[in-house]
């Protein structure tokens, strides 16, 4: 799927964010204009501290833009909304609730039966069956991350906003989690905005990669990743796209 053909789900129009702290104002985002298509998997890539998390928080409604506006499905974003769930690193799960309790957290408006069905379905989807009664401290990092994704999906949001969700995981678990996320994305058809500083991760996952500049962040380039899933990460096209982003960001390939 390419952005030009599909309907725009998210419209970010001339958004700028400035923080005023201790009498000093920091310009974090500069004139960001971007459209995200319904069902698209978009990666926002940039160096640490460039403001890509700020952008995601603004889309989520946790922050309001200093200038410009964001509309989702035609509505201006004014605050957080269960239709778009923000997934933090695994620290976002509630440590006082079991796996079940965490997944049920956003389901308080549903009937008991429906809640039970959703818990069962999403526990299975993320491969946590048998751990329903376990507390987060009894789970590994990867399991906690999957729990957070399950909790987010259980409220059936249109969108997932993921902020470097696999950053704290070891490299093997991270690869597994990427495959899991793609599997879930393909079966649930959500629009995903995924923030990362990992070039490989962006090229493995995304339909399009938005490359951000250093602060104040603007969009440096948007790269279409025109490779079907599952992606062969040793194919010439993969390497070509990856290397072009390396160059774009200005990092040499040799260490």
């Amino acid at each position: 799927m390419t952005g030009s053909v599909a309907i725009a789900k998210v419209k970010i129009e001339h958004v700028g964010v400035t923080f005023d702290r201790d009498g000093k104002s920091t310009h974090v985002l500069n004139d960001i204009t971007l459209e995200v298509a319904e069902g698209e998997f978009l990666c926002v890539l940039g160096p640490s501290g460039c403001g890509k998390s700020t952008l995601l928080n603004t889309v989520a409604g946790f922050l309001s833009p200093s200038v410009g506006q964001i509309t989702i499905g035609g509505e201006v974003v004014t605050g957080p909304d269960p239709r778009r769930i923000f997934v933090f690193q695994e620290r976002g799960v509630f440590p006082w609730l079991t796996v079940e309790g965490n997944i049920a957290f956003g389901l308080f408006r549903l009937s008991r039966e429906e809640r039970g069905r959703r818990i069962a379905y999403y526990t299975k989807l993320v491969g946590l069956e048998g751990f329903e009664k376990a507390y987060p401290q009894e789970l590994s990092g990867g399991m906690k991350q999957r729990l957070e994704v399950a909790r987010a999906l259980a409220v059936k949001p249109d969108m997932l906003l993921l902020d470097e969700p696999f950053g704290a995981l070891d490299s093997i678990t991270r690869l597994t989690m990427r495959r899991e996320l793609l599997r879930i994305w393909e079966s649930e058809k959500k629009t995903i905005i995924f923030v990362t500083h990992d070039i490989e991760e962006a090229v493995q996952l995304a339909d399009r990669v938005v490359v951000m500049s250093a602060r104040p962040a603007r969009i440096q380039q948007i790269v279409n990743i025109d490779i079907a899933h599952p992606r062969d990460i040793s194919s010439p096209r993969y390497l070509e796209l990856r290397d072009s982003i390396f160059e774009q960001i200005g990092i040499a390939h040799k260490i």
Binding site: G79, D81, P82, F86, F88, L97, G106, V155
Partner: protein
């Protein structure tokens, strides 16, 4: 019994029991060697306890002390926990109230005795008030800090799932602050148990504190004084063990380092 190794089950009981037995032997020996006329031997304390128990005084005194603690401490919990959570929730209010709390907190609850007696007279109300004052501050401070230190990620997650302020307070802030609150409750129960003894020495004529002062005043019965002291220690230990069990509950255990 080397270093960090897990002790065997029998060791968990054997060593403490052995040390207790040795302690009693040394106590007994010291009393006989020094020929103390004030400090009683363990056997005399035991006899004293039996004497009190037989007269039915002991049980009444214990229940009176526990009742005063239950009321004074209970009030402190009922007011202190919600007030602390509210202050943690509204940083502006905390800014106003916190300096006052921090100033009143280091004043020993016993310094309130003269005022308590003027306000509430000699009787249960004074004792209860003193216990309340002793327990209230650790509870409100622990609840406030607990609420204030809830990671913003968790509050944001609550908001994201569509909770209003009341829901975030009850479903996110309260459970997140609970380990801190429980620690505050445990510390303040210890303080309440300290204060009740002192309060009963001046403000009322029953309870374990009164038993101590009365045993001395009416006939210098130091065996009964020490018997009451031992009981106070044992009951305090049981109360603390109860709270330790609470900390083991899975929904709060995450907040305590293993």
């Amino acid at each position: 019994m080397t270093g960090q190794s897990q002790p065997a089950k029998w060791e968990m009981f054997f060593w403490p029991a052995l040390v207790a037995a040795i302690g009693l032997v040394i106590w007994n020996f010291a009393v006989h060697v020094t020929k103390s006329t004030v400090f009683p031997a363990p056997s005399a304390v035991m006899k004293g306890m039996q004497e009190l128990g037989a007269k039915g005084i002991l049980l009444r005194d214990i229940l009176d002390s526990l009742r005063r603690v239950a009321i004074g401490y209970g009030l402190a919990v009922l007011i202190g926990v919600p007030a602390g959570l509210a202050l943690g929730w509204y940083p502006v209010a905390a800014n106003v109230v916190n300096p006052v709390i921090q100033m009143v907190r280091p004043i020993s609850p016993l310094a309130w005795i003269p005022l308590a007696i003027v306000w509430y007279g000699v009787g249960d109300a004074s004792a209860t008030f003193l216990i309340f004052v002793g327990a209230f501050f650790p509870i409100i401070v622990a609840s406030m800090n607990g609420a204030r230190n809830v990671p913003s990620i968790l509050r944001r997650a609550g908001k994201n799932f569509g909770l209003a302020d009341a829901g975030i307070l009850s479903k996110v802030v309260f459970p997140a602050a609970l380990p801190s609150i429980i620690t505050g409750l445990r510390i303040s129960l210890g303080i309440a148990w300290l204060v009740v003894v002192a309060a009963e020495m001046v403000a009322v004529d029953s309870g374990l504190g009164y038993l101590i002062i009365d045993s001395r005043n009416s006939g210098k019965r130091y065996d009964l004084v020490v018997a009451a002291m031992v009981l106070i220690g044992l009951i305090g230990l049981v109360l603390d063990l109860g709270f330790r069990r609470l900390e083991k509950l899975k929904s709060v255990r995450w907040g305590f380092s293993e």
